[in-house]
């Protein structure tokens, strides 16, 4: 009996502020080919209508922590694409 290897990773992607406006929505569920990274999630988001206006190297976070484009994604992770921060 072989071990079942999942071939896809399902994650929740969040878009905020100006990035939510250009894509027209704040949350998208993505099904990515394993192994998945933030970069592969961003690649899918940039294929959405308006998504071509997302930058190639935005700030990103995974599960509420700042992350990098090559941060790996696990099933049900929350990946957030963050416009330039303007708090304070």
């Amino acid at each position: 009996m072989g071990v079942s290897v999942p071939t896809t990773v399902c994650v929740r992607a969040l878009l905020f502020a100006s990035y939510a406006e250009v894509v027209g929505r704040g949350a998208v569920t993505l099904t990515l080919t394993a192994p998945a990274t933030v970069r592969s999630a961003l690649w899918e988001l940039r294929r959405l209508p308006g998504g071509e206006r997302l930058p190639e190297r935005p700030l990103v976070a995974v599960n509420h922590t700042h992350a990098a484009l090559d941060t790996p994604l696990s099933p049900n992770d929350e990946v957030a694409i963050l416009p330039p921060l303007a708090g304070g």
């Binding site: 969040l14 905020f16 939510a20 929505r25 704040g26 416009p83 708090g87």
Partner: protein
């Protein structure tokens, strides 16, 4: 206590939270909504946040300042609609001596600006609007949309305040 609030900020309450007999210096900072940005007249603005992450980052920043300067630190950031002159962020940092209090206070405001996922949409006196982008020349996003934007779909809980 959450770090984000829609209520007006009260520096006196933050100062009271950090005051203690062993702490002789309290440094504070208030960031206030200005009436001009990039030469344009601002009428009001709205702060939104990725709230769960913003709370976590604020907690981390405060913990870092406490550990590094043996300080007690209180922080609040307002979200939602703000008027000119309203405080958007309030910080109080108390330490045995003033060097540490100032350093802790300064650290917190710098790290809040650098790390906490909060965004600011300005409404100008001429009726247009724009997202503030501190990384861009002029201070607005390339994605700035000079019109009233529809609200996000209801039920999308992750959308910021």
């Amino acid at each position: 206590m959450p770090f984000l609030t829609t209520a007006p900020l009260d520096l006196s309450r933050l100062v009271a939270e950090v005051t203690a007999p062993a702490r002789g210096g309290i440094a504070c900072f208030l960031g206030v909504v200005r009436d001009h940005h990039g030469g344009r007249s601002v009428a009001s603005l709205e702060y939104s946040a990725y709230e769960p992450m913003a709370e976590i980052e604020c907690r981390r920043i405060v913990a870092e300042a406490r550990a590094r300067w043996h300080a007690e630190v209180a922080l609040e950031h307002r979200v939602g609609q703000l008027a000119i002159g309203d405080a958007a962020v309030a910080i109080a940092a108390a330490a045995p001596h003033r060097d540490a209090a100032f350093a802790a206070c300064r650290y917190v405001i710098e790290e809040v600006k650098r790390r906490v996922p909060i965004w600011k949409r300005e409404r100008f006196a001429d009726g247009t609007e724009g997202w503030v982008d501190p990384t861009q020349e002029g201070g607005w996003s390339d994605h700035r949309v000079d019109r009233v934007v529809p609200q996000p779909a209801p039920g999308d809980a992750e959308w910021g305040v």
